[in-house]
Symmetry: C2
Amino acid sequence: MTAETPPQPGARLPIGGTSIQARIAEAAIELFYARGAVATTVRDITSACGLTPGALYNHFASKDQLLYVLVRDVHLRADDELAEALARAGDVPACQLAAAVRLLVAHAAGQRKESRVANREYTALATSGRQEVTTIRRRLRDRVTDVVETGVQSGTFTLVGSQDRAAAALTANVIATMCANISEWTSQHHPMTMADLQDRYVQMALRLVGA
Amino acid sequence: MTAETPPQPGARLPIGGTSIQARIAEAAIELFYARGAVATTVRDITSACGLTPGALYNHFASKDQLLYVLVRDVHLRADDELAEALARAGDVPACQLAAAVRLLVAHAAGQRKESRVANREYTALATSGRQEVTTIRRRLRDRVTDVVETGVQSGTFTLVGSQDRAAAALTANVIATMCANISEWTSQHHPMTMADLQDRYVQMALRLVGA
């Protein structure tokens, strides 16, 4: 089994994994965050958990499969939570955009390591895994694009350049990017509370859409 | 000699290198872009140039030193050009910000591969090289922060949240990030002319600073 093969059908690891899979995943995130997935060995991961090198293969098919599962699950969780946040936000596009930004900031700032690994390392996945993650990323971006486009169509938002789907996608991309970039900060940067950070990013997003 | 040791003093490669150093650098950028620096071997680089593996060491001390020189030079060039663009832009903060954004977009969209390698791979450098590049990155961000802060102090810009240096730095970071992210796009995204892209990004930046 390689990263080409999905793990147990329906299982979402580390979301839905066993406790030892979760422990391995946690150690892997620390290592992938600190030195990148390519430079991390199976031995590095198992040592960090106090396991023998071979023990990893009882729980994951390979390092690549572990990376795939991690990166996919961080994306799936963000996408699911974004869908829920938008559903709860009601019909006003500005409120929907605010809800989306609050969620994206919470992910990038509150789960900095997971977010950074997911955003940086998905390009290191084998082809089929990368395509799957790219599809989730596109769905996530499309949700934000839909909010921006709805705001334009209702006359609440006025974008720069033009008012078409391409302009909505460009603006949504800038908004998602600025939120995701928070995961790249080192902890001494901008020592703000989460609520303050979310408020500022919501206001910047509303400015970008001309609300 | 390792990445810890600077190359020929005063030399800026590939900016100021020999033609064969430039050829090696060009091949390395393609490979680092496609698969990352950690996963690229010296043999990959020399094969791509039609050289024997050992030939690299006549021109660079190691793969790490080559990566360091490349990443440093892309940053140095961007920083120098930003300083020139700001000097030419006159005293009006909005014009300075527009000049900065035009330059950052030109780098990220026009030299997509160099920019992406520089932005992604600097974290893979050995400590002293990484510190040097981090210093250049900070200087580059500080130039944008200075423009934003000057605009605030002259009453032209009104930021979200607060009007202090920290708020100027946060806004400058968002602006630099949104521009740099263009290097992550695949070429089929947003098929706009460079001028159109620059105009839209300038307008988004001006919205972010409340100009």
